[in-house]
């Protein structure tokens, strides 16, 4: 036991608690119960230890300790690779795949959360050692609040207006409102689609959003989330019954065609509203110098 024992235990506890707080199993079924959780909590514990022990090392003027943080960074990049590889492999077996953009988003989140754990442990240990345990607790609360604000990304409802739209056939062409979706040749399939299908129109709220919702990865994420939450009327070997999203090239609206097992419009809209805006798909064309100096975009 020495002067650093309690601050180090405190820092590791705070970091591990922060990881537990950020660990949520939701409709995406990730991390899976229970072993996926164990992996993430264990890595969180390691991250917390690294963040914590850096402080006493600095105080003892042992500056080589910073190399451990560099080591930690490369380890957590490895975590990201691991998540990406696992999810990409599993994606082949999904009836409606997540898509690479969504997978990369999840992998980034896992890497990022480990850094937040290091930060929380570092701050709380530093404040404990510099002042007292109460300052450490305050620092931990601050770090958790910061983690919470960083965790809550945008959802689709913030950037688009969602409306229900009618499905219709013009010959073999399937339309959602006036947006062409695909060619369905067999009358039998057409009947199934009219019976089980549902159409929605997502209208961008401003110019920036057009690029974001037009992104193929973002579109795939919408289809995946809707299919997971509402069920999907399809099986392997029925490619005609695959949910699809197409764009209206004139105004950037997108037409969503899904085949849910739960035929509840309000619920479907609620699900689509809560689809995360993927950070890899997010675009801000109005921020470009060329657009600001030129004519204004609507």
């Amino acid at each position: 036991m020495n002067e650093y024992t309690y601050p180090v235990i405190f820092g590791i506890t705070i970091g591990t608690l922060a990881r537990l707080y950020m660990l949520k199993t939701d409709y995406r079924q990730y991390p899976t119960y229970p072993h996926g959780k164990v992996i993430n909590v264990a890595l969180g514990f390691i991250a917390a230890s690294l963040g914590t022990v850096a402080v006493p090392s600095f105080m003892e003027e042992n500056f080589t300790a910073v190399t451990f943080l560099a080591l930690a960074a490369s380890q957590f990049r490895e975590v990201r690779n691991m998540e990406r590889n696992t999810l990409s492999e599993l994606d082949q077996y999904e009836l409606v795949p997540r898509g690479k953009t969504y997978i990369e988003g999840i992998a980034i989140v896992f890497e990022g959360r480990n850094y937040l754990v290091i930060f929380a442990s570092f701050i709380s240990t530093l404040l404990y050692l510099a002042f007292n345990i109460w300052a450490g607790i305050l620092g931990a609360i601050g770090a958790l609040l910061l983690a919470k604000s960083l965790m809550s990304g945008k959802q689709l409802k913030h950037i688009v207006n969602i409306k229900k739209a009618e499905l219709s056939f013009d010959g073999p062409g399937l339309y959602v409102d006036n947006i062409y979706i695909m060619n369905i040749g067999l009358p039998e399939r057409q009947k199934e689609i009219l019976k089980y299908g549902m159409g929605f129109i997502l209208e961008p709220k401003d110019f920036n959003v057009r690029a974001t919702i037009g992104h193929l990865g973002q579109r795939q994420a919408i289809l995946h989330d809707a299919s997971v939450s509402l069920g999907v009327f399809r099986d392997s070997g029925t490619p005609a019954l695959v949910p699809l999203i197409k764009r209206d090239l004139d105004d950037g609206r997108i037409g969503v065609f899904i085949l849910p097992q739960v035929q509840d419009v309000a619920k479907a809209i609620a699900v689509i509203e809560r689809v995360p805006v993927l950070e890899n798909a997010f675009r801000l064309p109005t921020e470009s110098d060329a657009n600001q100096k030129g004519s204004e975009l609507d």
């Binding site: 010959g171 060619n183 067999l186 490619p239």
Partner: protein, 61 residues
């Protein structure tokens, strides 16, 4: 081997319009063409699309 975006089969009632390429199934009438297209859709794991001239093609996407 996995073929994608490829016409796997053509089902038609007017065989004289087809010249080579994909396997072609000549049918007596529209009813038969629909049934054959439905069967091939299931077997080939493709989507059966109808062209403007009433011909069905099975395409793997």
């Amino acid at each position: 081997m996995n073929l994608e975006k490829y016409i796997l089969a053509v089902i038609t009632t007017s065989c004289e319009n087809i010249k080579g390429g994909a396997p072609t199934f000549c049918c007596e009438n529209e009813d038969e063409a629909q049934k054959v297209a439905a069967d091939l859709e299931a077997i080939l794991d493709g989507i059966s699309h109808r062209l403007a001239n009433g011909m069905y093609i099975i395409v793997k996407h």
